[in-house]
């Protein structure tokens, strides 16, 4: 099904070739930073930023020119001394939480983080009921 899915996307007229610009990619869209540690930071960050023009792809995976421009921003800002989290905040300030695949704890996302805790407690209760007492069985 997934296979069909991908093919259907390739075949769909959603990304008409005509609407691509003819400009070369931004200097640091596809050029790695000289410092391997910094480039690794850049990669890790780019995989968690959403390409705004695509259907659910990170800017690291996307061929869209705008994703290239965003990669350029990530790399030059790292070079200028910003931290990855500062760059993420800079984008979130402009596009909202949608642009980041790493949800932050906020008024609208706390349930996401409460969930594992709740599951942990629930799991502990179930396991205690089932396994805690010798030879107990319920459910």
């Amino acid at each position: 099904m997934r296979l069909l899915a991908i093919l259907a996307l390739i075949l769909s007229p959603m990304l008409p070739l005509a609407a691509q610009d003819s400009m070369p990619a931004a200097p640091y869209a596809n050029r790695q930073l000289d410092d391997p540690a910094m480039e690794r930071e850049a990669q890790d960050l780019m995989f968690t930023l959403r390409c705004l023009k695509c259907q659910s792809q990170s800017i690291a995976d996307s061929d869209a020119p705008m994703a290239g421009d965003m990669r350029h921003q990530v790399r030059i800002r790292l070079m200028a001394g910003e931290t990855p989290e500062q760059i993420r905040s800079w984008l979130v300030e402009r596009y909202g939480d949608y642009v980041s695949y790493a949800p932050r704890v906020s008024a609208s996302t706390w349930p996401l983080f409460a969930l594992p805790l709740a599951l942990f407690l629930l799991g502990a209760i179930i396991l205690r009921r089932r396994l805690g007492r010798k030879g107990a069985a319920g459910l």
């Binding site: 296979l3 259907a8 695949y101 609208s108 996302t109 969930l115």
Partner: protein
Amino acid sequence: MIAELGLAALWLAAALAGLQLIAGVQSVRQPDGPLASLARPAAVIQGVLAAFAFLMLLWLFAQTDLSVKLVAANSHSAKPMIFKLSGAWGNHEGSMLLWVTVMALAGGLIGYLERRLPEVTMQATLATQAFVGLGFYAFLLLSSNPFERLATPVAEGMGLNPLLQDIGLAFHPPTLYFGYVGLSVAFSFALGALLTRQVTPNFARAMRPWVLGAWIFLTLGITAGSYWAYYELGWGGWWFWDPVENASLMPWLAATALLHSVSVLAARDALRAWTIMLGVVAFSMSMMGTFLVRSGVLTSVHAFAVDPERGTFILVLLGIYIGGALTIFALRAGTVQEGERFTATSREGALVFNNVMLSAILAVVLVGTLYPLLTEAFGIRVSVGPPYFNPVAAIFTLPMLAVMAVGPLLRWRRDGAKRISKPAVFLTICVLLVAVLVTYLSNASLLAILGLAFAAALAVGSLLPLRGRNLLRTPLATWGMVTAHFGIAVALFGMASESAFSIEKLVAARPGDMTEVGPWKITLDGIEPVAGPNWTALQADLRASYKGGSAITLQPQSRTFWSPERETAESALAARWNGQLYAVMGSGIEDGRRQLRLWWKPFVPMIWFGGILVALGGFLSLIGRLTADLKRHYVRRRSAERREDAQV
């Protein structure tokens, strides 16, 4: 004529499903009623009729009968035969017919063969199966008729797209459908047992082959889908927690939990209500996967045949089946007798722990996938991706892996911690050793380090059940378990290794340029145009040599299709035993250089080898269980015959 025959067979099959439902329900209420003996034959004939309808559709595609709308839209007289046939199920209507056919055949098979359960439970099971089937017949006949004729036949079909002629595409969707159908049978058994208060080890044994079979197909489906995305999407990733990917993972998680709880029920008569619940959940996850993929309610890279109307139909079916089943569960589960008892340090204890962990992972994936939909209802858009799923899933996966490594060593019912204390200490040392080593030698992330360490321990731990055993006399089912668990370790090793050791290189190269990617030296020999049936491409000739060894050639392409006009990047892969070199050609740069994206991904194929091992383990178990069942059946019949002989 052929199309009308197929349609007639389909209507008849639907009518028989109706009969099967009525007969089943009646004989549950009144075991010697007039219709009581009809459910089983109805199931068998329904299976035959559905299969006949599907054969007619295959025939139409083989003949390229262009007066049929579906054929005209999806086939072409110049296609190779194999793709003509696969075209029959490579579309919405045909795939639904395939689904219904497999489901009807499965129903016919249990109607014909399954005699272990009390007859009333079988009748309830067949009635449920018919009820589920009727919904799909209604979907097919009322809104997606595959046999619809065109008023005027067209001169030629529209489906000559070489992109759609892919052997993977031909067999990936049916693989998932087989998995979904297996879970629907498990669902019917679960409801049949619940309705007739027969949640017994025999019920578990009858249901187990279907769960195992479904699980094997789901495992293969996910493995293949992941590999396909890896080489086709061209960015070197194999899993992104995309909604459609999650939709295929969730039924697998539920089926994995069900598989283990059904084993507990079969062997030890415990976890009764829990197994029923998982049977309902597993089927609902497969229906929900279909719904999420086809309704377009979530944004995905893989969004397919998005049609809100069909989505609504599937949602209505989902609501009826699952809402109904959960209501029955809430009303009836309280009456299910408490199962056998066991202690924490026992095989059941370990399996319960893993079931709880798997359910927690399922809940995390489910909520994480649907969460953006929830906030959108309040006008807020958020994204939930790998930075959320990876660590949160790991919280529950790591303890599960730990228990998985030693759990199979425990005895059923009650065991002392002593039996596993030695292996546990040994495996803990294993984990620590690998963790320290990897931390020292690489700059891998914490999750990757933990993944490698646990993979090593699990690989060793999974083999321990074979220690001190006569390998020739070890039951196939045990071999299956060992193989599947070892496969998980192998896959995990591949995943962690890919994350920890991958090296990426982006270069802008002109012919003659040389670059290094990890241990590889890669030279761009030239760029040449090549042409295909409906595309032209630029192809890079890359000469790659591993640590100065003999060179191999990689030829990634940048293809331009002209009808409709679009560009795709065709990646090129070179596999060694210890990893894969992955090359993609990007766009051109004005000064004549070409953008190349190269990766060296150590041990990445282990992800998919691991997946295949897991499926193989399931297959061994299935064979083991089935032959054991057959033997038992044979022995029982022999002894019955002997008793008869003695009486004579």
